[in-house]
């Protein structure tokens, strides 16, 4: 579980996040949604520690991120997995080496054990025969799968996904959504997904936080979205005719 308490983030004179408080629950797919420039990426970067909050606190299973010392922080980082928008696979490594990387850096496992674990993770994301290929040789959907396999290699407690569906066709996007959702249940992880894909919201959104103008404007489940009277949320979610008709 990740708790965000009264989070503020400013850049020089510009406040990007204002008093954001929420809880991302364990074993659930928690979604952060909002328009471009609403502050959801900044919120995500604060969550994963790439940015430091101006004020407020982030607790990882009651452990305060800002109060942690270097070794504790290092250990916490090893409990995190991250799926980047562009996959962020290491170009110079093969698919298998990419998945083995966290195991090589942080475990004392033998080479054979690392290979076995990496192959297991690749099989889990339904990638069986791409071990020796380089990231440049595989498709966008396959890259996302490899990135997921790499993210779960160390059995993380927290999984962060930044726009996991961007650049994918609807069918592949749905498969990636379902994969993230299933893995969250299987590993009982706290998964936080940054997205503005409404299909993801409806399909896997067990807890949704809507950010608007740097503030938390709404939170609830995908079922509750349909009956919400929040104007900002409705303008965002039901922007297209299709979704508007679906709501009606």
């Amino acid at each position: 579980m990740i708790e965000v308490l009264n989070l503020y983030k400013s850049f020089e004179n510009k406040t990007v996040l204002t008093d954001v408080s929420t809880v991302f629950e364990k074993g659930k797919t928690n979604l952060i949604i909002g328009r471009s420039g609403s502050g959801k990426t900044v919120l995500m970067k604060n969550l994963i520690g790439l940015m430091t909050p101006t004020s407020g606190e982030i607790l990882y299973d009651r452990r305060s991120f800002s109060k942690m010392k270097k070794p504790e922080l290092k250990n916490l980082r090893r409990e995190m997995g991250m799926l980047f928008q562009g996959s962020a696979l290491f170009d110079s490594m093969t698919v298998l080496d990419n998945v083995m990387f966290p195991l090589t850096m942080f475990t004392r496992d033998s080479y054979k054990e690392r290979v076995n674990r990496a192959k297991f993770c690749l099989e889990r994301v339904n990638l069986n025969d791409a071990d020796d290929l380089y990231p440049a040789e595989i498709s966008g959907g396959m890259m996302k799968r490899v990135a997921i396999a790499r993210a779960i290699a160390l059995n993380p407690d927290y999984l962060f996904c930044d726009e996991p569906n961007s650049g994918l066709d609807p069918k592949t996007a749905m498969l990636i959504d379902e994969l993230v959702h299933d893995i969250t249940k299987e590993y009982n992880m706290t998964t936080v997904i940054n997205t503005h894909d409404m299909n993801s919201v409806m399909n896997i959104g067990e807890k949704i936080i809507f950010i608007s103008g740097g503030r938390k404007a709404w939170e609830g489940t995908s079922a509750e979205i349909m009956s919400s009277t929040n104007k900002e949320l409705n303008d965002f979610v039901f922007a297209s005719d299709f979704f508007r008709r679906m709501k009606e």
Partner: protein, 248 residues
């Protein structure tokens, strides 16, 4: 001026992060060998090619310009040796390598930055500066003496070839010239100087590449800036080191 100080501060902080104990020595050693191959061995052909031709041209130029009967013919070999040993194989060769190796490092790290590969390392808890930059600096600094010695050999060899092929000077006189008043310390001086230059090339290029913000355009800019800055620093340090080691 303030910006220059700010950049210098950033560079020092980056080097501080870079020069820490590697997470895994086995991984570091493997990375370093790869860098030696990529930055050093891959530069061999250009070093040999340029040295051979510059050595030959030097012999022709000196031969053509020494017309006084008071200056002995072996001076051609003597001057070729001194220029190659003292300046060409270290300074000029490092200026050329600043273009090849420097732009390679800056663009590689810059691309890793804009494709979030460096962020991925940080989130995993890997000291990205230490993991990516230290093997490059260590590998290049360790291998540059090999390149310099090879350059010296082929530079003087180029002159020898010219003496053999032309009627400007006899081979015997050239041989006498290259052995005349030889001080082995000149080789030590050249090697030490080149190691400092190698550090400048690798660290400055790493600084520019690592700190890229933006996209492909900024990666190109970082690559150019790193070559310009390395060249300026190489010339400045050439003067300083020469005064320290050879000055009276």
């Amino acid at each position: 001026m303030l910006k220059a100080l700010h950049n210098f501060g950033e560079y020092v902080l980056l080097m501080q992060r870079t020069f820490s104990v590697p997470e895994r020595f086995g991984v570091f050693f493997r990375q370093m060998l790869q860098e030696i191959y990529k930055l050093g061995v891959d530069s061999l052909w250009i070093v040999i090619f340029i040295s051979l031709f510059i050595g030959a041209v030097l012999t022709v130029q000196v031969g053509l310009n020494i017309t006084s009967p008071l200056i002995p013919d072996f001076t051609v070999g003597y001057i070729t040796r001194e220029v190659v040993l003292l300046e060409f194989s270290s300074t000029i060769m490092c200026l050329i390598l600043a273009g090849k190796v420097g732009s390679n490092i800056a663009s590689e790290l810059g691309t890793m930055r804009v494709t979030e590969q460096i962020d991925a390392l940080e989130i995993m808890g890997v000291n990205s500066a230490n993991y990516l930059i230290l093997p490059k600096i260590a590998g290049f600094v360790l291998f540059i003496p090999v390149l310099v010695i090879i350059s010296m050999f082929f530079g003087i060899g180029g002159g020898y070839l010219m003496a053999y092929l032309s009627s400007m000077i006899t081979v015997a006189k050239y041989e006498f010239g290259i052995m005349f008043w030889f001080s082995p310390f000149n080789i030590t001086y050249s090697v030490i100087k080149s190691m400092v230059f190698a550090f400048i090339i690798a660290s400055v290029a790493s600084y520019y590449g690592y700190n890229v913000r933006g996209g492909a355009l900024q990666v190109g800019k970082a690559s150019t800036n790193s070559v310009v800055m390395s060249s300026v620093l190489i010339l400045a340090f050439d003067l300083i080191i020469t005064n320290l080691m050879l000055g009276r």
